[in-house]
Every structure is written in C-alpha cells, then in structure tokens.
C-alpha cells in the first residue's frame, strides 16, 4: 500500500521519468547502498579487521624469538588453561568489578532518590559537583589518589591523624591495596550511576505513585513495589555499562598508575596481566588470547543481561 503510494507520488512529481529503482544500471538501482558504503567500509576497516586480526593473533606465537606472528593453533589457550596467574588475575578482576559496581549502584541510587525532589535550592550546583569525578582522566585520578593515599604525607592519613587514628598503609599493604583501588573506582564512577538513576527517576510516570499514595502505601513499599520494578531496565543498562567499562578501563588505568598490580600481585587484574604479557614481556600472541577470552566472557555477560530484560519492550 505504502509503496504503491510512493510510486504514484514519484510518478506524479516526475511525470517524464520512470522509477530509478526499477530500471537503469547498477548505480541507479542500488544508489542507496552506494551512498552508505563509504561509512560501512570505514567501520569494517576500523572494527572488524582488527578484531579478526586479534583472533588470528590469539592463535599465533608472536614473541621475542619469532619476531613475526606464526600460527600455532590452540597452544595459547591451552597455556591459559594451565596458567594460575591468569586465573588469579581473573578472580581479582571479578572481585573488583562486582564490589565496585554494586557499591556504585547502591550509592548512586540512594543519592538519586535523595536529590530527586522538584524544589531544592542550589540543586544544580550539587548535581554538577557530584558528577565532577567522572570527568577526570583515569591517569590523573590514579596520580591524585596515589598522593592522597601516601601514608607519610597523604591527606587521608593526615585527617585520620587529627582524629587520633593511625591510618593504614593503603596501597602499600597486602591487606588494604585491593580495597584502596576499589574505593577509587567507586569514587570515580558512582556519579555515573547517579546520573543514570536520576534520569530514570525523572522519566517515571506520576500516576502509579499517586495511586499508591492514595492507597496509603508506605515509602518503602513504594520503593520496592513501584520504583524498583519500573527502574529495572535502566538499572540493568547502567550496570551492564559499568561492568563492561570495569573490565576494560577501571581495572587498568588508575590501578596501573597507583600500584602496577602490586604489592606482589594483590591488585594485578586481567588487564594488567595482559598488558605486562603483551607490552612488557612482548608475548603478543598469548596476550591476545587473554583479550579474546575477556571479549567472550563480556559477550556472555551481555547476553545474560539482555535475557534479564534490558530491552523488555522490544521483546514483548
């Protein structure tokens, strides 16, 4: 129906021409494809080619001795399976990501609920201040916190000292190093959760809340039975974003600046291990296998989130 209408209208506008899609050469028949092809080629070159090359590298030996990549099948993956350092790094990454993302969600959501009122004076300034940490480069964050954490002249222990508390060694101690780097991530990325949750809360319809109030529901009941279910898709998207980012960025940049994975291997995440293997020890094939593993793992996590209903509307 629609297409007939189009054809009719085009004939009406250009009475002396026939429809270009029905006659003429390749150019005329597929002109819409030609138009988008530069972008498609560009994207392919930029994303698909490196990814395929990465898969190829993960099946190759490329180290100091070989100089160039040589195919060696699944050797890298077999080595990964046996590599205890790899599994320990993966465990640490999972601890890091789950601890930091869950804290960010709870804190960010709580802050959003607190501030989600229409008429508070100066709320704009507060919001701006809250999202400030997010806009700082991770490298700078790492350097800043390294100084803050310094047990001798850092601000944190200086404050604790005023209260009569002898502060811990933070990054330098086996007991507090992992906690310290997680705290930095929470500090930097809670604002992201706050932003997402604020946006979500403001987009919720008012009717269910009004109805609940009329029915005499308590604040907690409203939160549990109305707000959370309505917010579920947004929460899932925000958490998925943070998990992906946590695997990619949070477990590398600032940690690398603050501890390089130490003391010992206490803060050595998968990213740090892959970086060391690839760029410091120049074993690019093996490092690629680690990266492919992470990619697959993240894809699986992403699928799980989709099933849990990130795109509920589309699926219904």
């Amino acid at each position: 129906m629609t297409s007939t209408a189009k054809v009719t209208s085009s004939t009406a506008v250009h009475p002396h021409h026939t429809d270009p899609r029905k006659s003429g050469g390749i150019w005329e028949r597929y002109f819409h494809i030609w138009f988008i092809s530069p972008v498609v080629v560009f994207l392919l070159v930029l994303t698909l080619v490196p990814t395929i090359y990465l898969f190829y590298l993960s099946l190759s030996r490329w180290d100091v001795i070989t100089g160039t990549p040589t195919f060696n099948g699944l050797m890298n993956y077999l080595n990964l399976w046996r590599d205890q350092v790899f599994w320990a790094s993966l465990r640490r990454t999972l601890v890091f990501v789950s601890a930091s993302v869950s804290s960010q969600l709870i804190l960010g959501f709580a802050m959003a609920l607190l501030i989600n009122r229409p008429h508070i004076k100066g709320i704009g300034v507060v919001r701006t201040l809250i999202i400030l940490p997010m806009s700082i480069t991770p490298i700078v964050v790492g350097l800043m916190w390294r100084i803050l954490y310094n047990p001798s002249f850092g601000l944190i222990n200086a404050f604790l000292g005023l209260l009569g508390i002898v502060g811990p060694e933070w990054l330098g101690s086996k007991d507090t190093a992992l906690l310290s780097v997680i705290l930095v991530d929470i500090w930097q990325w809670t604002p992201f959760m706050f932003l997402m949750m604020t946006a979500g809360l403001q987009s919720l319809p008012a009717e269910p809340f009004e109805a609940a109030l009329v029915d005499g529901a308590s604040g907690f009941q409203i939160l549990r039975l109305i707000t959370l279910p309505l917010m579920k898709p947004i929460i899932l998207v925000a958490v998925l974003f943070r998990i992906i980012d946590g695997f990619k960025v949070s477990t590398f940049d600032s940690i690398f600046i603050m501890t390089k994975g130490g003391p010992g291997s206490i803060t050595q995440t998968l990213n740090i291990y892959a970086f060391l293997t690839g760029f410091e020890w120049f074993n690019l094939g093996y490092a690629s296998a680690m990266v492919v593993f992470t990619l697959v793992l993240l894809t699986i996590i992403g699928r799980l989130f989709l099933r849990m209903g990130v795109f509920r509307e589309e699926m219904e």
Partner: protein, 445 residues
C-alpha cells in the same frame, strides 16, 4: 728563544687538547650528505632530552636535516616504540631506548646494527668520533652478540646517599658493608624523628630489582647459575633469600610506611624533602638533590659507594641509548644525528648541566669535575667515577627474556616487603615460575 717559546706553547696545547673537544665541523665527513631529510625521534621525557632539544638548532644548521622530537613519558614511550617497531611501520627513525631492551630488539631485528655505520669512513670519522672513548661498561651495554646496536646517551649507577650532619651527630662512620648499613639505619631510627632509609619497593625489573640486584650480588647471590653459559635460574638460593630478607626487613623496621609501593620518584622526593636520611638509588639524583632551586636538603648530602658484602661490591649500571629503527627510511640522517648527539663536543655542553655523560674523557675533564664539584663537595663525582669503574653491563643479566624474568623477581620481592609472604616462600614461588619461563623459552631443558 722563539723556538723554545713555540715548543712550550705546543706542549701546552697538546696537554690541553683532551679538554678542548673537537667540534663537529672538524669531523672529516660530509655532514650535509642527507640535506633536506626530516627525521622523527621518539624521546623519553627526561632531563637529558630537554638539554638535547636545546642543541637541535645547531645540528639542523650543520646538516640541513630537520629533527622532530616526539617526547613521551617512559611507559608510553615503550608502548609507542614497540608498536612501531613490531609493525615495521618505520614512523620513528630514532628511538631513545632503555639499554635492557637491546637483546630483545636486536634478536627481533627491530633495530639497526651500527657496525656498518661506524666502520664506513664516509659516514663516520673514526678519529674524531672516538668510539673507544665511551665507558667500557656502556659499550658492552649496547652490544649484543658482538655487534653494537645503539649509542649510549645517558649514564647512571647506584650510590649510597647519606647525611653527614646526622652521621656526625650520632658518631656514625660511612657504612662500608651491609652490617654497618644496618647499624647506621638502626641508630638513626632510634635517635631521629625521620625515616632512616628509603629504597624502591615497587615491583619491576627496572624498579625494585634495579636496586635489589646490588644487594643480592653483594650477598653472593646470582640470577642464573652461570650467565650466559648456564641459564638455569637460581632465584631461591640461600644467598638470594637472605638478601631479600635483609632488604625487606631494613625497610620494614627503619624505613617509611608504605615503602612497598615506593618507586624512584618517592625515593627522590624523600631525599629532597629530607624525610629519609639514607637511600641507595640512581647516582643522577645527586645533582638534583644538591640543587638549591629544587631541593630543601641541598648542601646536606654525602655520597659513597654501595656497601660491600661477601659477594663483593655491585653498583648498578643504566643507560638510555639512541638506536636506529631498522624500518626507518632515513637511516643515514638518523645515523648522523645519533653520532652527533653522542659526540664529545656536543655531550660536554649538556653534561656540565645534567651530569650524565657517557664518555670517559668528559668524566676525566677538569671542566666537568669543576661543574659537579658542588655536589656533595666532590664526593658525588668521586663515588660515581669509582662505581662506574667497577660496574658490569650484566648487573642485571642481558638476554632476550630478561624483562619477564626480572619482573617475576620484582613481584616476589615486593610481596616480601609488603609482608605478604616470607622471603623463602616468595622466592621459591618465583623460582618455579621462572623455571617454567626459561624452559618454554628454550634456555633450559
């Protein structure tokens, strides 16, 4: 009479010659043979880089070659250059390279062997360039399988930094061995409200291992059974474990809190701020901490050789070098540049300010000694010269897989300093991991 006068003048001139290095214009080569070329040089964010940067106009005028410096912080420099070298793109013509990379990059044919350049009279005037003037340990440091792969650009060694005022106060003598070092640290810790000693705790073959290797060798320990003939790792030897235990305990008992994560920057600022009374670290901190414009403790420092142990005295060696990318398309221009930058006349100009020349003649020259005399009242130059006399290029063994080997030692050592495990269990674990590495890389069966 006139003849005698002439003779005296001549003798004086000959005697003064070593101090007056010949300028580049006197080299018997055609400096303008690559005129119009333009080279890209990847440099480390480093004091010496700034000094060389300031001299570039001179080179461009001499040769007609344009030089573009791309300056990166150390870690970024390694990444950028590795990507360029491994891909063979040839973006950088010259790279400033950590000398410990030489075996790795040479084996992978990433960098150009320099023998053909040094021996070609149209490219190098051997009498003017005087390659034999580079300190012998540095020449070893840039060689791999009897071929030279880079030219030494900076130099440093480890020395003991101490405070003569505090030593005098407590009646301490400058420590000559590790027992005396312990005793001094203990006395300072007991009597002064400052940390007695600061050493690098941060893991890494170029971090804690760089300083620790001197302790380890001093205690009689080794990295491998007999380098380079028998590469069996001997990391968990009793000597190595004793050295690790000593290194960790002297820091735990008399050092600053959080020292397990200290890298050289924290050591340097500890010295500048006067929060630590002693350190063993890079000699080139000397001119910085004794500089009144950058240091609160300027004028208070004494310098001595690192302590001696049953295994002898082992100061470190380090050099940033200039190497030519094998994939460069401007190799002649690149060679002219690194030759010029490391030549005597050009180096001495920088050395008077930065204090890290790589040529023996400069260390021996009156001008350089005078320029550095204010650092520890001449103690610095004395300790540096005597240390550089006894250093070995294989202070940290140079072979293709050293970095992974050394990093494993660094991880073990840091976990001992952070009290995560005992020296014995950490070094046993490191031994196992390193054996695995050496086996898979084919060094041992």
């Amino acid at each position: 009479m006139l003849r005698r006068l002439l003779l005296v003048v001549l003798i004086l001139l000959v005697a003064a010659a070593p101090a007056l290095a010949a300028p580049a214009t006197e080299a018997n080569i055609d400096w303008r043979q690559a005129e119009g070329a333009s080279i890209i040089v990847a440099m480390n964010l480093h004091m010496e880089t700034d000094e060389l940067d300031a001299q570039l106009a001179e080179f461009e005028e001499l040769t007609g070659i344009r030089v573009n410096f791309q300056i990166y912080p150390e870690i970024e420099l390694h990444q950028k250059t590795l990507v360029d070298l491994a891909s063979g793109a040839g973006i950088f013509d010259v790279i400033m390279m950590d000398f410990m990379f030489t075996p790795q990059y040479a084996a992978a044919k990433f960098i150009e062997p320099l023998g053909p350049y040094l021996n070609d009279p149209s490219l190098t005037d051997a009498d003017w360039f005087k390659a034999s003037d580079f300190m012998p340990a540095l020449w070893d440091a840039v060689s791999y399988n009897n071929e030279v792969y880079a030219l030494p650009f900076t130099v440093e060694t480890t020395t003991l930094f101490y405070r003569p005022d505090i030593y005098a106060d407590l009646g301490l003598a400058v420590p000559n061995n590790y027992d005396e070092l312990w005793h001094a640290a203990e006395a300072i810790h007991a009597n002064k409200s400052m940390d007695a000693i600061g050493l690098r705790g941060m893991r890494g073959q170029g971090m804690n291992v760089y300083v620790f290797a001197g302790f380890m060798r001093g205690f009689g320990g080794k990295f491998v059974a007999d380098f380079p003939n028998d590469m069996t790792p001997v990391i968990n030897s009793p000597e190595n474990i004793a050295a690790a235990d000593y290194y960790a305990r002297i820091l735990q008992e008399f050092g600053p809190r959080g020292v397990a994560s200290w890298d050289w920057l924290e050591v340097l600022s500890g010295l500048q701020e006067g929060t630590i009374a002693m350190a063993i670290d890079a000699s080139n901190f000397g001119p910085v901490i004794d500089d009144y414009s950058t240091s609160r403790t300027a004028g208070k420092w004494g310098y001595a050789l690192v302590p001696e142990g049953p295994g002898g005295r082992h100061p470190s060696i380090y050099t940033h070098t200039l190497a030519i990318n094998a994939a460069s398309r401007q190799k002649t221009a690149a060679w002219l540049f690194i030759q010029w930058a490391t030549s005597e006349d050009v180096q001495i100009e920088r050395a008077l300010r930065s204090g890290q020349p790589t040529r023996q003649s400069i260390w021996d020259s009156a001008a350089f000694r005078e320029a550095m005399a204010h650092v520890g009242n001449g103690q610095w130059i004395d300790a540096s010269v005597r240390s550089l006399d006894i250093v070995s290029a294989d202070y940290r063994p140079r072979f293709e897989h050293w970095r992974q080997f050394g990093d494993q030692v660094g991880i073990a050592l840091q976990s001992v300093i952070a009290k995560e495990q005992s020296a014995e269990s950490a070094f046993n674990a490191a031994q196992k991991a390193i054996e695995e590495l050496m086996r898979s890389a084919g060094y041992i069966k």
